[in-house]
Amino acid sequence: MSVVTSHTTAVTECPACKSTVVFRFESTTICVCTTCRSQVTRGGLKLGQAMPSPSDDMSKLRVGASGKQDDKTFTVTGRIRFIFDDDGYVNLWHVETGGRGNNWIAESFHTYAFLKEDEASYPLSHLLLLKPGDKFTSKSIHYYLSSSETKTSVEAEGELPEEVPEEKIMYVVGTSPDKLAVHFHVFNRNKYRAYRGKNMLFSEFNFSNTRAINS
């Protein structure tokens, strides 16, 4: 499997600790410094707060892992890990697909969804009223609200398309009867982003360069 890598590897210096920060992927603008955990731009600016290194949650994925979705190869560039108030979590693995939008793999307790950022067309006021189990329709697809959790902390690593959000986030997941998924990130209850895609099994991604678990 070919690995999607940048043709324009960029190197900059972390403004906080002076370590070298290397950008290997085209679609990213932020890299978490491996030394001091600062979020560094390609221009060498420090953004937001330092990101703790993600806890070891036995994920098989890691930065640099590659896979396939709809016969298109992708490579994992970085991860944001939201920890929720009920001790749940979601790993949002940003994947570079060769210029096909802002794509992510959402992973929670070894369940997976391949998602692409989409327009936020569902009315926010309706979204805020939804409860688990409620049916809603977005872009002509019927979903049922599977979960609605509140982020309590965030961790990050690798390269990401933008600064890691620090606001209060309500993480809402809708699932359809035919495995389609929509994830909403609601920021401070006044704006949100929508990510659409489908739920998939680990084996369906044909991953390579994954992390070996200690078995």
Binding site: K60, D86, D87, T111, S147, T175, S176, P177
Partner: protein, 423 residues
Amino acid sequence: MKLQPQEKACESCSSTIKWYTAAQSRHLYCSKCGQYHEVNKKGELQKKTAGTPKIKGPAYTFKPGDVITLDRIAYTVIGSTWKEDMQYPEFKWKEYTLFNDEAGYRWLSESMGHWILLTELDAVPIRRSSDTVAIFNEVQYDVFQKSRSNTIHAAGEFSSMPLVRGARYQEYIAPPSMLSVEITTSGHTWFKGQHISKKEVAAAGNIESDKLPVQDGVGAVEPFGSAVRQDITIAIAAIAVGLMLIVMMISSSMSDDRMFMADSSQADSTGKITTQSFDVTQSGALRLRYEADCYNNWSEAEVDIINDATGESQGTIIGAEYYAGSDSEGSWSEGSTSSEQYVSSVPAGKYHLVITPFRGTANASGTKYQLTLEQNATIGSNFFSCALLIILAPVVQYFRRRSFESRRWSSSDFSPYSFNEEE
């Protein structure tokens, strides 16, 4: 291959606690003293009183660290829980959380010796008809339980504090499968369950089958014992009866084995008829047909079938009676002027008949009669006996299945069976 755990020291008894799934499970129990701990972000154990079981645990069939191999995937048991239904606390079951680093999680439920393997669904079933059915992959599942559970004991590691009281759950069944949904304030999580036999559990856990709990009653999704579906049994029985009917009709229409006719004109001075000898060419049933001119009278004939060679006799009485008239309600009639009778199992050979007639009212009608004898007769009663036996199979199966389903649903609040009726 077995998952290698991290090791932590119990904050209460210092025993080693094995931690298999790291940050996925921040709630750990000491297998030695049962102390409950939470793991903080630094990976340190913090013992907690709330969350430590107040009762002694049951005899779990599987313990954290055991390996269960399903579909050639080795899962490590990471947690065992003991639950009770909140409404019917006498109903208890155990659940084992299984983990494989690629396949993820599975849950094995053990209830009264019956086993169900559950997998989290990545799609949502559709609930219809006021939530009494759930449809998933075009299969209809009927509601079986809507209740709340208390987790009264736990061992191993968990993603959230397991000793939860009043957790809502709903179950829908289409044996050997089921759908289950756990309902919390933050989410609805759907699972698909599949009955797994005791033998399969023993093989998966590499333990002897007789070491597993004894089965009691009927499992929620235990398949009915018969390997043959009832509709197939009915179809086979219907085809068999149909074929028998066709064969009988063809045989009946093609048989022309009339041997002779005798009538009253051949009677001697005593009224008896002694026939000429005739050949019964093959062993089997003989059909006698009797017709008389009786009107408001009865007429009978005692027929002796006598073997010429041995002198052995088989006797029978055949007759007819017919009455008619009119009264205030109009005209009426009853009986018939003819009848048929079979004489079964007559061996091949040479025979003759001795016919002795009787009639009700002398000098009235019924003096004339005619007797016909045929061989190769098909006996309708044989057909009906066979048909009954064939039909008996699906009937017995139906009642066995009904009893089985009735026992299955006896633990449901949504049973379609009336238990007074069943008792």
